[in-house]
């Protein structure tokens, strides 16, 4: 039972690189990599909103609950 971050899938769909996204939303590439690997402890609403805005998607497109 865990939350999976599908950021790499969305990045691939939008043909955007992690570095590009990090520059747009203003967080480090290291943090993007941690998010992509679902190794983060928590994600702020502000970060989620910035990612959704940059990738033109919904939070559900990025986060997935697996039982």
């Amino acid at each position: 039972m865990k939350i999976i971050v599908n950021l790499d899938v969305m990045l691939a769909k939008r043909k955007m690189k992690a570095k590009e996204l990090s520059e747009i939303i203003g967080i480090s590439v290291v943090n993007i990599s941690i998010l992509k690997q679902s190794k983060g402890k928590a994600i702020r609403f502000s970060t989620l909103a910035a990612i959704c805005k940059a990738l033109d998607c919904q939070p559900g497109d990025i986060l997935e609950y697996l039982d």
Binding site: I34, K39, G40, K41
Partner: protein, 169 residues
Amino acid sequence: MKTRDFIIAVAFFLGVGYLLTIIQFDSDEPSFYVFVIIMVGIFVFNFLARKSYSLKPYFTSKFNVLTSKYNSVVSSELPKELMFQKMLEVLRNQGLKVVFESEQNLQILATKGISWKSWGENIYIDFTEKDSVIQMNFTSTTVMGIFSWGANEKNYSSLLFNFEESLTI
């Protein structure tokens, strides 16, 4: 460990005290000057050598009684390379000066400046993989000082706290 440090410190001060008593601060006594020159020499050498990662064994050796050490191992789920980058970010955000970093060998040396507690500390970090678990080896040593007065332990706890905090993205 602390008891051993305490015994070494007491023995050191008793030894120095005894030495100074028999020398009696006689300006004609050459051994007094030899003692002072040796102590100043070690002090200056430690300050010059602190930025060299290759001298880690000198500062962290159990035989070096003039430095206080603290080491700990932390396991992580993050890959080694990512953990290395993350630790660099955390160290810099914490205001520590990263004086050496090797992405190839995954080694970091950060220094902390002089405070009223100590003459500064060196923080050595490297990463190993044991049974497919990533381990971060943390060592904090004083540049010069038999006691760190909790500075080494504080470095460790604040680094760990900031690392955990930084995982909230």
